[in-house]
């Protein structure tokens, strides 16, 4: 992530960015850069802890930070997030405490999800980040139902369903887009296309030219967005969120990114990725692209970049230190939350 790395430059002048994000863009992009560095530091630290056997599992979002951070910053408190696989950083940007997430990764007594789900499956109701399963695509039609609720109560807010490229083949992708278009609901279908469904490339996932083109036949706009360009993601989301909030119906956004790390801590990409993948991915590193642009445009200098990196690592280290060593959930909690409190435990 140093500027000397050769990355594809972000294609903007400062004036372009002013018109896309507003005059306060330097503060906005500095904040975005900080969050992206935090996500990067978190991934690095947690992958190391997983290899040391200190957390049970980890799925990094390295390469997808621009999508997650722009989503966290562009959405408002009344919006709802149905995550796919790699949107944990969205919850943090929306205000979920990093130390709570660390407790979740350690699956301990203070995990807000009480240690039921695998690591990287957080629940953060206070920031309207919905509990996720490991099942592919099911959240897509759920996000539609939530948007129905918003409209039914005439409440503000947009429901965002995230999913990967593989999930576009699922039953609920079809059901969700279809229902939302028929009912004309405030839903954004956000495809985080990192070009790999574990080992299967997008060319083996769809015969369509892009995933976004699918939207048109459901009766909604579909946008293909460079998901490694935080300005592009942010600008696209601002537009779609505003239109959905005005009652102009659902839209689909495909954010094209490059998965820079394995699918998860259980995966070995050398079995299926071409040898030049890592170099291609690195040239689209969203953190390096933003860093380079901010440096060229005088928002960050080398000292600031270094300081932000140090601070991010320190923040992650502090959260890990605060969380690690917390006791495991009490055995009695095994049978709690299966049913509402008046009837917990096994049937009968």
């Amino acid at each position: 992530m140093s500027p000397k790395l050769s990355v594809v430059p972000l294609p903007y002048s400062a004036d372009d960015v002013t018109s896309l994000l507003g005059a306060d863009w330097p503060e906005r992009l500095r904040a975005a850069y900080r969050w992206m560095r935090l996500g990067r530091a978190l991934d690095a630290r947690m992958q190391a802890l997983q290899r040391q056997g200190r957390v049970g599992f980890y799925g990094a979002a390295t390469g997808q930070e621009a999508v997650n951070v722009a989503t966290g910053l562009a959405t408002r408190s009344e919006d709802w997030i149905f995550p796919g696989l790699r949107e944990q950083l969205v919850a943090l940007v929306r205000g979920h405490p990093l130390v709570a997430y660390a407790h979740h990764l350690f699956a301990d007594d203070r995990d807000p999800g009480r240690g039921r789900n695998m690591p990287c499956h957080p629940t953060a109701r206070e920031v309207q980040y919905v509990s996720m399963s490991s099942v592919i695509g099911t959240q897509i039609s759920q996000a539609v139902g939530l948007a129905y609720g918003l409209r039914q109560r005439q409440a503000p807010g947009v429901s965002l369903a995230f999913f990967g490229d593989g999930a576009t083949s699922s039953n609920d992708f079809h059901a969700g887009l279809n229902f939302a278009a028929v009912w004309h609901l405030p839903v954004l279908f956000c495809c985080a296309n990192n070009q790999w469904a574990i080992s299967v490339p997008t060319s083996r996932q769809t015969g369509a030219r892009t995933f976004a083109t699918k939207a048109a036949e459901y009766g909604m706009p579909g946008w293909s967005v460079d998901g490694t360009d935080v300005v592009a993601v942010w600008a696209a989301l601002r537009g779609s969120l505003a239109r959905a909030a005005e009652g102009r119906g659902p839209e689909m956004l495909e954010f094209i990114t490059y998965r820079m790390t394995p699918h998860s801590s259980s995966d070995d990409p050398s079995r299926y990725q071409p040898p030049d993948w890592a170099a291609r991915a690195a040239s689209h590193d969203p953190v390096a692209r933003l860093e380079s642009w901010l440096s060229v445009n005088g928002v960050l200098d080398g000292a600031a970049v270094e300081a932000i990196g140090r601070e991010s690592e320190a923040e992650v280290r502090a959260a890990v230190e605060a969380a690690e060593g917390t006791v495991a959930p009490a055995p009695a909690s095994l049978t709690e939350d299966v049913y509402a409190p008046d009837r917990s435990g096994s049937p009968g």
Binding site: S141, G145, Y339
Partner: protein, 325 residues
């Protein structure tokens, strides 16, 4: 009070719940303008409008997925799956999502959805309009599974389901939608979950049956009474939670048990109830536990009458149990 059929009682329960609470929303295929293929939602579209009686596109996973999202937000959705045989596209949403939301979120996201669906044979519906697959859902922790057998219970259990905090699979015995009528209390009549109904008292043998199997089981008990055998008939009404103490107490009294269901035998509810009795009433048993069930075959069209349990088969099993000791 008034005499209603079972499907009219369902309709009455839905209407009263919707009048009492604007958050109750119905969704399903053909339930709006058409009033449902069995007319369970007749008149509701007219009274409550298209935003609360929602005709959905034809996708069960979409129906249940959308219902889950509504419930996460705080609405009280009641989804209809047109036939239980068509519920499987939504199986993933039910067992992976609906049943597990409260648990996996550490209690942050309770997910209260009621899924109504007509089930069971006896209407010449063949393989795909006849099945009784309650065991799939009973096997999944987090769901409650309810099967009324009378109009009064249909309304009372449905209102309890709508006011419950947990997901409920509400199985409606379509064979007796119109074949049984009965008095149904007006107003907020609720039947608690986990309390079996003593249909008929007896001392010689306990017959356990639910849903559409209750009428032939009562008929069998009447036949047996004429022969001097006093059969007790118990309808558990809710399969999860199951009223284990009522089942055990009855067999402690009679010493004999016959379990009736139209679902296939292997891994059906009969196996679970038999295991319960083996664990908790073993020393009271005077005869082997008997099961009268559907066959371990797909549900047949032409031979439906052979497949389904009837009063003769139930009475024969009870006689065998009595003669065994």
């Amino acid at each position: 009070m008034g005499e209603l059929t079972l499907v009219q009682a369902v309709n009455r329960g839905l209407a009263e719940a919707m009048r009492a609470d604007p958050d109750v929303v119905l969704l399903g295929e053909d339930i709006g303008v058409n009033g449902g293929v069995f007319r369970a939602t007749e008149g509701l579209y007219k009274e409550f409008g298209e935003s609360r009686v929602v005709d959905t596109p034809l996708s069960e996973t979409g129906i249940v997925g959308a219902a889950i999202g509504m419930a996460l937000y705080g609405l009280k959705p009641v989804a209809e799956i047109q036939f239980m045989d068509f519920i499987y596209p939504a199986f993933d949403q039910i067992v992976s999502e609906l049943a597990k939301f409260r648990y996996r979120s550490g209690g942050q996201f309770p997910c209260h959805v009621v899924i109504r669906t007509p089930y069971g044979g006896g209407i010449k519906g063949g393989l795909y309009h006849s099945q009784s697959t309650e065991a799939y859902f009973c096997h999944t922790a987090g769901l409650k599974v309810v099967v009324p057998s009378t109009p009064s219970d249909a309304k009372g259990l449905l209102l309890t389901a709508i006011h419950d905090e947990d997901p409920v699979i509400f199985l409606e015995p379509k064979r007796i939608y119109r074949a049984v009528t009965g008095e149904v209390p007006d107003g907020d009549h609720r039947v608690p979950f986990g309390q079996a109904r003593l249909v008929r008292e007896g001392s010689d043998v306990s017959l356990f049956a639910y849903g559409a199997m209750v009428p032939p089981t009562v008929e069998a008990a009447e036949t047996l009474a004429a022969e001097g055998i006093h059969a007790e008939v118990i309808d558990p009404r809710t399969l999860v939670p199951l009223d284990e103490s009522a089942i055990v107490a009855s067999v402690e009294k009679t010493g004999r048990a016959v379990i009736v269901h139209e679902a296939a035998r292997f891994c059906g509810l009969g196996g679970e109830i038999a295991a319960l009795l083996a664990e908790k009433a073993f020393y009271s048993l005077k005869a082997p536990i008997a099961r009268v069930t559907g066959y371990d075959t797909p549900f047949p069209y032409a031979l439906e009458h052979v497949y389904l349990p009837n009063a003769e088969k139930i009475a024969a099993a009870a006689r065998n149990a009595v003669r065994a000791s």
